[in-house]
Amino acid sequence: MAIAHMTAPGRRALLRPELTAVASTVVVFVIFAVAGGDDGFLSALGIRNVFQVSATIGIVAAPMTLLMVAGEFDLSVGSTVGAAEIVFGYAVVHGWSLWSALLLTLAVCAAIGLVNGILSVRTSIPSFLVTLATMFIVAGGAAAIANGNLGGTTIAGVTDALDGDPLLSLFKGNITDWFPVAAAWWLVLSVLAAWVLGGTRFGNWISVTGGARASAERAGIPVARVKILMFVLAAAGAGLSGVLAALGTNTANAADGSSLQFEVIVAAVIGGTFLFGGLGTPIGTVFGALFFGLVYQGFYFTDIDTNWFQALLGILLLIAVTSNNTAREFTMRRLRDDR
C-alpha cells in the first residue's frame, strides 16, 4: 500500500511507538475541551491541574519506562510515594531543611529500589511478584511506623515547616498560573530519560538487556547491574513525586499513591512501551501521563455522573492500548511486505 511509496522519514514517523499516544491524547483533549471547555477545563486553573496530575504520574513513569525497557516491573512505586511523604514530612517537621530531608527521602527510596532490584535479579522470582510483596511491606510499614510515632498516618504542616527555605520555590507552586513547577520536573526528567535511552551507550544496554538478555550477557553487558540501577531510579522517581505531592498539599499522607503503580505502568504502555521489555520511549510516556491528567481532570468538568469515572477510564485505556498494538502490527507487516 501507500507505505511502500513513502519516504524514509514518513515511514519512520509511522514506526514511532509514541505516535498513537499523541493521537489518543489529542482525541481525549478535544473531547473534554468540547464537553467541559465552558465550565473551566480550558481555564488556567483547569490546565494547571491537568499538568499537576500528569506530573505526579509522569515523574514516576519516566524511570519506570526505562525499567520496563530493561524487562522488569515495579508495582511498589505507589506505596513508595506514600512512604516518601512520611519520611520527608517527619524530617521537615523535626526541623530538617528541604535539601537534607529530600536527600534522606531519596536515599530511603533508593534503598527500597535496591532491595527490589537485588531480589528480582538474584532470585528467579519475577519482579512482578517481588515488587507486589514489597508493595505491601512498604505500605504497611510506612503506615504502621507513622501511626506508632505520630498517632496517625498523616503529617500536617509540611510546607509550613519549610517557610522561608530558599529551595522551596523549586518544589512548590507555579511557574506561570497554568504551569506548575512539578510539571517542569516531569518534562525535564522525561527528556533526560529519553536522552539516556536513545543517545547514550548505556541506553542501548538497557534496551538489549530487556530485549535479549542472553545475548546481552554474551556481549559483556552487566545485565544485573543495569536492572538494579533501573529499580533504584524508579523508586527515586516515586520519592520525588511523593515530596512534590506533600509540598503541594502541605500534608504528608502514607496512603498517597496507593494505586499510582497502575497509572504509571499504563501511561508507559499507552506511550508505546512493550510490556515484556526491549522497547519503549519516555517521550511516548509523557503523552501517556498527559492522557491520564486530561481524563482525570476533564471528567469533573462534564455532566456525567462521577460514578461512571472508573468505567470510562477503563474503556479509554482499552481503546488507547488496542489502537497502539494495531498501528504497530500494521506498520510492521507493511514494512516486511515491502522487501
Partner: protein, 262 residues
C-alpha cells in the same frame, strides 16, 4: 582441499556426559583458518553438546580445547569471544524491535565522550552497519528500521557480519540454514564463504548434507557422540556423506522394516 593451513582452534578427546547419558565420547575436531569445517550428524548425535563445549556455554568433562595450540578453558561464551571464538546461535541474539545498527553494535557501541553516560556515536554506528551490510548485498533503505523487518536469511547474515566485524577468528554457525528456504540459505552460505576467504575458520553445524557439500572443505560426521567420519572434501563423495549421516546400515534396515509394514 589443503590441510596445510594453521589449526586455530582444536578439541582434543573431548567428552561430556549428562547424568548417565554420554553425549560426547573423546571427540577430536580441528578448525583451520580459511576453511569451512562442516559438523554433521543426525538429531541426538551430539552436535549441540559439542557446540556448547566449543562456544564456552558448558565445560567438557574430559579432554581439552586449544587455541593456537595452547590449551584453554572457557568460563563462559564471553571468555571464548575474547579469544576470538564467536558463535552465532540459532536464536541469533537480536532485539527484534531495535534498529539494525543497535543490534549490530550491542555491547560494542562506538562512543563520544567518556564515562557511563558516554554518548552513543550513532552516525558512526549507522555508517559502519550500512557499509558492512552493503558488502553482503543487503541494502538498508532506512537505518532506523527494526531488524525484525529483515528476512530470516538477512538476519542470519547480519549476525555473521557482526561476529566477523568484531574480530572473530573462528566462527561457529549453529544450524544457520535450518529454518530457511533455498534462496535465503544460499545468502547465508555465501556469507560463510566470504568469512572463510577473509581467513576466518568457520564451523558450519548442520544436518543438511547438501548445504554442507556446497561449501565445506572438511566434513566431520558425529554418530552417537563420537566422530564417525573426518574427511577432506577431496576424500569423500556426497553419496558417501549422505549415507554416513543417515546411518548407513540402519537406514537399509529401516527401509526393509517399513516395506514389511506397508
Amino acid at each position: 582441499m589443503t590441510d596445510d593451513q594453521a589449526v586455530v582452534f582444536e578439541a582434543r578427546g573431548v567428552s561430556k556426559a549428562y547424568g548417565t547419558v554420554r553425549a560426547l565420547t573423546s571427540v577430536d575436531l580441528a578448525v583451520r583458518a580459511g576453511q569451512i569445517t562442516c559438523l554433521l550428524g543426525d538429531n541426538g548425535a551430539g552436535k549441540s553438546s559439542l557446540i556448547k563445549v566449543l562456544s564456552g556455554v558448558t565445560a567438557p568433562d574430559g579432554g581439552t580445547l586449544a587455541v593456537d595450540g595452547e590449551p584453554v578453558r572457557f568460563a563462559d561464551p564471553r571468555d571464548a569471544l575474547d579469544r576470538g571464538i564467536a558463535t552465532v546461535f540459532q536464536d541469533l541474539a537480536m532485539v527484534p524491535a531495535l534498529p539494525v545498527y543497535r543490534n549490530f553494535f550491542m555491547g560494542h557501541e562506538p562512543v563520544r565522550g567518556r564515562g557511563p553516560l558516554a554518548r552513543f556515536d550513532k552516525r558512526k554506528a549507522r555508517a559502519i552497519t550500512e557499509e558492512q551490510l552493503a558488502s553482503i548485498g543487503i541494502r538498508l533503505t532506512d537505518p532506523e528500521r527494526p531488524i525484525s523487518t529483515l528476512s530470516g536469511g538477512e538476519r542470519q547474515s547480519v549476525a555473521v557480519a557482526r561476529a566477523v566485524y568484531f574480530g572473530a577468528r573462528v566462527l561457529l554457525l549453529d544450524e544457520p540454514t535450518s529454518a530457511l528456504g533455498v534462496r535465503q540459505a544460499e545468502t547465508v552460505l555465501r556469507y560463510a564463504v566470504r568469512a572463510k576467504r577473509q581467513g576466518v575458520g568457520v564451523v558450519l553445524i548442520t544436518h543438511n548434507a547438501h548445504h554442507a557439500w556446497a561449501v565445506g572443505d572438511r566434513f566431520v560426521v558425529l554418530k552417537r557422540g563420537a566422530v564417525a567420519i573426518d574427511a577432506a572434501a577431496s576424500d569423500i563423495t556426497l553419496d558417501e556423506l549422505v549415507r554416513h549421516m543417515a546411518g548407513g546400515e540402519e537406514v537399509t534396515q529401516m527401509r526393509r522394516d517399513l516395506r514389511e509394514i506397508l
